[in-house]
């Protein structure tokens, strides 16, 4: 039985940059080993200067590794073939301002070798998919940041890659644009794409990622699934109607009688970004873009009612 080839395999990656002519080097990535399995949404986290973007650039063959082995679908990342199935959205993307959205995506489609017969349809599909069809005839130079991110995503997807690398896809984008980008990432996940994403917005990562890795000073600090890393397996939250004090005391007594403890009582709160999104017209924000994509995508998570009542362990019914 063949072992599935991981989308990204990084073994012992080290990357040094020469910072002076005398040979003083800055180690941006230090002995990093990671595996991103196909079909996963993987979040690469870390503070500024932690080596996230450098790692991404090595994966894309834009930088050479000082040491270590980096492969994309089994192909060494320094080879051109490794980029055949990769789409990339750089941080704060800048595109040819004098091209229209359609022209830009068509240009990249041709660079990626999309057959001429499929070119027109493919460009239109992907521009529609990111919700930019109404603005696609406008010059890219007139686009807002959110629209630039979306046209950037369109060019990354136009050749239907299996792996999509998103470097800070919501940097400088407002909450509405951020939410729309998250929806697009979740749609990609539903289609079975592998997504590698870096972001400073941890809530966003939490909403969309299966696994995360945290880097600091070029070193891998922690890596695992979100459940493994932030889930509290020995605790549970119950959400109930508002109870009078007497009932709460009765509940506490009942729990104590069964050997459990009522650890916290909190008022559930919606997340601020969700309040913002419910108050701001998303159609209006999309403006000429016409909103995101065609498929209705389920929300990535329920409103965060963070542990209104935490009990340990799970009470029996």
């Amino acid at each position: 039985m063949n072992t599935p080839v991981p989308a990204i395999s990084i073994k012992g990656l080290t990357k040094d940059f020469a910072v002076t002519l005398r040979g003083v080097k800055l180690r941006a990535v230090d002995d990093l080993s990671l595996t991103v399995e196909e079909g996963h949404v993987f979040g690469l986290l870390g503070p500024n200067g932690s080596g996230k973007s450098t790692t991404i650039k090595v994966i894309l063959g834009l930088l050479g590794a000082t040491a270590g082995d980096v492969r994309v679908f089994g192909v060494p990342s320094h080879e051109v073939e490794s980029r055949r199935n990769v789409g990339y959205l750089p941080e704060a993307p800048y595109f040819y301002r004098y091209l229209s959205g359609y022209e830009l995506v068509r240009f990249y489609a041709r660079v990626c070798g999309v057959p001429r017969k499929q070119l027109q349809a493919r460009v239109k599909d992907v521009v529609d998919w990111v919700g930019l069809s109404k603005a696609a005839d406008r010059r890219v130079g007139t686009y807002s940041k959110g629209m630039l991110q979306r046209i950037g995503l369109a060019q990354a997807l136009v050749h239907d890659p299996k792996l999509i690398v998103l470097d800070e896809p919501t940097a400088g984008v407002d909450p509405v644009g951020t939410a729309e980008m998250c929806e697009l990432i979740l749609k990609l996940k539903q289609q079975g794409k592998t997504v590698l994403i870096t972001s400073h917005l941890l809530a966003q990562i939490e909403d969309v990622c299966d696994r995360v890795a945290i880097l600091d000073h070029g070193k891998l600090i922690v890596e695992g699934s979100l459940q493994e890393l932030v889930g509290q397996r020995d605790r549970q939250a119950l959400i109930v109607d508002s109870l009078p004090p007497a009932d709460i005391e009765a509940l506490r007594g009942w729990l104590v009688s069964r050997g459990h403890a009522l650890n916290a009582i909190e008022q559930p709160r919606a997340r601020l970004d969700q309040l913002f999104l419910s108050k701001v017209s998303r159609g209006g924000h999309a403006g000429a873009s016409g909103g995101v994509g065609s498929n209705v995508v389920p929300k990535s998570s329920a409103p965060n009612t963070s542990a209104p009542v935490a009990a340990s362990p799970k009470p029996k019914a």
Binding site: K57, L62, V80, E81, R84, Y88, P90, F95, V111, G113
Partner: protein, 280 residues
């Protein structure tokens, strides 16, 4: 896992070249230099009384070629550096080079795009100069028919060939600037070094002539080697006698063209080699 190789693609190269061309013609600098050159060539007929003794038609030709060489060189250096660094500084190169393309396609695509821009510049400047010469020669034929008893004296075909040779010379210059750009960190450094290279290429024959007979063998070899490294741009100045009706030696023109193509290929290859490991 066996990877299917991505072959070198001339269509991708052409795509990058056409995009580079489009970007260049939208730049104000190109339009500005083109207007200046065209204006200078067109104004040649107003300066014909200050021709320092040479024939009027030769003066117009010299004036036109002077404008072509001066503005063409400036355009070549600035446009090549600008179009290369705009990709790096604006980070469009990040997106482009993250696609399945060879860096050689990128470098040669940039070169072909710039070469096309310079081609348009040369075609317009030479075309205008030829039109002016044709017009003025027609007037002179009416004024002094005896001087033109055997027909027109300006060899327009040769003029065109000299224009093509100048274009090739700019191609060599562009490849040198591109080579500098592949390892340079700034647009300004590339432009300044490019102008130095232009001066060296124009004057290297003087050094070679002066130092070719020195006794020191090492020095002589060094001068010869430097003379090979830097192309001799004086070889391209074949248009001096065209305004006076002298014919261009086609064999010589062909050899100069081959000389240019060889330099473009070699320097372009070095640029690809240099850019291959550049960290974007």
């Amino acid at each position: 896992m066996s990877a299917v190789s991505v072959p070198f693609s001339f269509s991708r190269l052409a795509l990058i070249a056409s995009n580079t061309f489009l970007e260049a013609v939208r730049q104000r600098l190109f339009n500005f230099l083109l207007l200046l050159a065209v204006g200078l060539v067109a104004s040649a007929q107003f300066f014909r009384d200050f021709n320092f003794g040479s024939s009027e038609l030769k003066f117009i030709a010299d004036f036109g070629f002077g404008a072509l060489v001066f503005f063409g060189s400036a355009l070549t250096i600035t446009t090549t550096a600008q179009l290369f660094f705009s990709e790096i500084e604006n980070r469009t190169a990040l997106t482009l080079l993250a696609k399945p393309i060879w860096r050689a396609e990128f470098v040669f695509g940039k070169f072909v795009g710039v070469f096309a821009v310079i081609g348009v510049f040369c075609a317009l400047t030479i075309g205008l100069m030829m039109a002016l010469l044709w017009h003025r020669e027609g007037q002179l034929m009416t004024i002094d028919p005896e001087a033109f008893a055997s027909g027109r004296i300006v060899r327009y075909g040769d003029l065109f060939i000299v224009g093509v040779l100048q274009w090739l010379k700019f191609g060599v210059l562009s490849s040198i600037v591109l080579l500098i750009a592949t390892f340079s960190n700034s647009n300004l450094y590339t432009v300044v070094t490019g102008f130095f290279a232009l001066v060296i290429c124009h004057l290297q024959y003087l050094a070679r002539d002066s130092w070719s007979n020195v006794d020191n063998l090492m020095l002589r070899v060094l001068v010869q080697v430097l003379g090979l490294i830097f192309p001799n741009f004086q070889l391209f100045n074949l248009g001096d006698e065209i305004g006076q009706g002298a014919a261009l030696d086609p064999l010589l023109a062909g050899r100069v063209a081959v000389y240019a193509v060889v330099y473009i290929a070699v320097i372009g290859g070095l640029a690809v080699y240099s850019f291959r490991n550049r960290e974007i």
